[in-house]
Point group: C2
Chain length 399, copies 2
């Protein structure tokens, strides 16, 4: 039989990333692809230490059905994290989810219908882009520069759309350590965005999954911190601070959305598991997690430095890259005449794999970018990866 999929699932089947990633599994392949923590980043020992007595001391918080917003202790822990991001948020406005992708999916389902207009950054996060591509939305790209989403272009597009009778529902953006572009939204633009949303009656969906993994002294306060209009729906995650396998993320939603969330959430999955939330909350006791995050920062900063130093040393002239202040990535720009399809083939031959920039744009056309991820490999492996990539690039540039 020919399986009868929804339009959305049929659209997903056209995605070429799955096939791409099988190449990463070939023996000897050095991967600068997936944005995952380095193996020693997981708090195994501490979790083993606390979990038994955590369950024993309050099984009622773990075994029965829970609140659709998640456990109160975990929402209090999130409120603490939000304060570190400059935003004073009550646990009442926090909703726990199975990671920030899950929060994004649910928030978008609560505000977007097929035919609605959603503004996205160009480039933007692959995971969200891939999903919403086949929702039947009208997706409008606004470019980013070194200071994040270009607010003048955003305002212009919104005006133009409104003049055509089209009222976008939301703007999906990343404020910190942008994935893939690894840039920071400027403080000025952070301050400006909630007012733009208010003016055009839309929402900012702020995806801040890498927040607090900050390696330099930069402003990483959330756009939400400046949201006097309650126009920002904030998405956060413990995937990079604790463990992606725990699937604990959150949303911060305006008062008006809270009751609706509690009615809608049971329809998706009833709620997220409480055990994982309670473990995350318990890791906050005596600020243990803050100390752990400092160790993570050390591990990631040293990997970031290894990458940037290797790029300096091995990359040919005319190649540039962003200098990540946090997060997992660097965004490399190669000369326009380099054929990216040919480059990835040569790179794979050289046993190194990365994400080609096309994936991060709606049109999937030729763009002269590569995303390198330094979060997982050890420093010497990162250096070796850059060497292999630089050799491939030189081979292509000589063609």
């Amino acid at each position: 039989m020919k399986f009868r999929y929804s339009n959305w699932a049929s659209g997903m089947l056209k995605s070429n990333i799955a096939g791409f990633l099988t190449a990463a599994k070939e023996p000897g392949m050095l991967s600068l692809c997936p944005g995952v923590p380095f193996p020693a980043a997981y708090p195994t020992e501490k979790v083993v230490e606390i979990t038994g007595s955590l369950i024993e001391s309050n099984p009622e918080a773990i075994f029965p059905y829970g609140h659709p917003q998640g456990t109160l202790r975990c929402r209090e822990a999130v409120a603490y994290r939000m304060k570190k991001r400059g935003a004073d948020i009550k646990p009442e406005n926090i909703v726990m989810t199975a990671g920030s992708q899950n929060a994004c999916d649910m928030v978008m389902r609560m505000i977007l219908d097929p035919g609605d207009t959603l503004i996205i950054e160009a480039p933007t996060f692959l995971g969200v882009l891939d999903s919403i591509k086949s929702w039947g939305l009208n997706l409008v790209e606004v470019p980013i520069d070194n200071d994040g989403i270009m607010t003048d272009v955003l305002r212009e597009k919104l005006s133009q759309l409104h003049s055509e009778g089209i009222r976008p529902k939301a703007v999906y953006l990343m404020s910190n350590y942008h994935n893939p572009a690894s840039i920071m939204l400027s403080t000025e633009r952070r301050k400006e965005l909630p007012g733009i949303a208010e003016e055009f009656d839309c929402y900012i969906i702020e995806d801040d999954a890498y927040s607090e993994l900050q390696y330099d002294d930069v402003d990483q306060r959330a756009v939400k911190a400046y949201d006097t209009y309650d126009r920002v729906l904030y998405l956060g995650s413990f995937s990079k601070l604790v463990s992606p396998g725990f699937r604990v993320g959150w949303g911060v939603v305006p008062d008006e959305l809270v009751d609706t969330w509690n009615i809608c959430r049971p329809m998706f999955d009833v709620g997220s598991p409480q055990l994982n939330q309670e473990i995350v909350a318990e890791l906050h006791r005596d600020n243990w997690l803050d100390g752990h995050i400092q160790k993570l920062i050390g591990g990631y900063r040293s990997r970031r430095d290894a990458l940037l130093d290797a790029l300096d040393e091995y990359m040919p002239d005319d190649v540039t890259w962003t200098k990540a202040h946090g997060g997992f990535y660097s965004w490399v720009t190669v000369p326009d005449n380099v054929d990216l399809d040919s480059l990835i083939k040569t790179a794979l031959k050289n046993k190194v794999i990365y994400f080609t920039g096309n994936f991060f744009y709606l049109d999937n056309r030729h763009h002269n970018h590569l995303r390198l991820c330094y979060s997982r490999p050890d420093e010497d492996v990162i250096v070796e990866g850059v060497k292999r990539l630089a050799a491939a690039l030189k081979e292509e540039m000589a063609k």
Copy 2:
């Protein structure tokens, strides 16, 4: 501001169940509403005993991102459970989810578009009905009788729809201990259904969340056990066998859907947390969970008997009810002239609450049914609840 919801979320706001359930929280209210386990049903001690060493022995299975289908050990445990339900299923065809509601939501998103036709039972499960009501689907009800969905009516409706050029995508049904009707699909109909799906090129979505909580000797083999055509998408859950707060459920999907699942699943939530799945898998060691399920059956059977005996003793003539062979419910039929809106008010005055039957039908109109749930209260509380309800009924019938 007026929040700009999606049509789906706007539709959800019209649901009246949330308001209804706040009444259940009034002091002294005796609730026969929610389908949740009795407090002693949770395997707290065992989970405390196993969890620390489980995490310690294999942190790689728990902390990093996992497979979109879930952990292999947990899928092997599910394969074991499926065998108890008469179906020989490979772990390769099993997908782990955050409960069966979550599995249902994801499976439906992978096959249904607005405008598509979905066949549902009348009555059907409130949780799914409430969600899909505002998906923009063409929902067609097929009645159930004491032997489950009426396959002759189903065939007739499918023929008629096909003759109109409408090709329903799926039939959503419950095979065991139907919620709310507490009936069993007959063996004959179980055998018949996959062939009907094949004939009309659609799928059976079999929701079997209460399976194995079987109190009498009845055939509870899944429709999936008879599915020679690979037309049944089966949904199962550990919510009632282990803990609803763990959010561990599953789907069984045909070969053709597996790859698509692995592409689509990351878009929803990347995957379900592994810790919970590994705990559930570990509970299968030395068949510990089988013994635990026997204890649960003892606890639920005794509650079921208390309810049925009390109904026998206290209910007025002309009131009938289904005799549950498993699961959590009994479905009470009151005389047609009883005003259900008035009855629930009198019942609330008498400090007992239950679900009015309307909620379980698409049209939400007058139906002469009540759903009583006996899973959580102790036996004496169940008896007291039935007394209060019987008094309310007598008062209404005398009007």
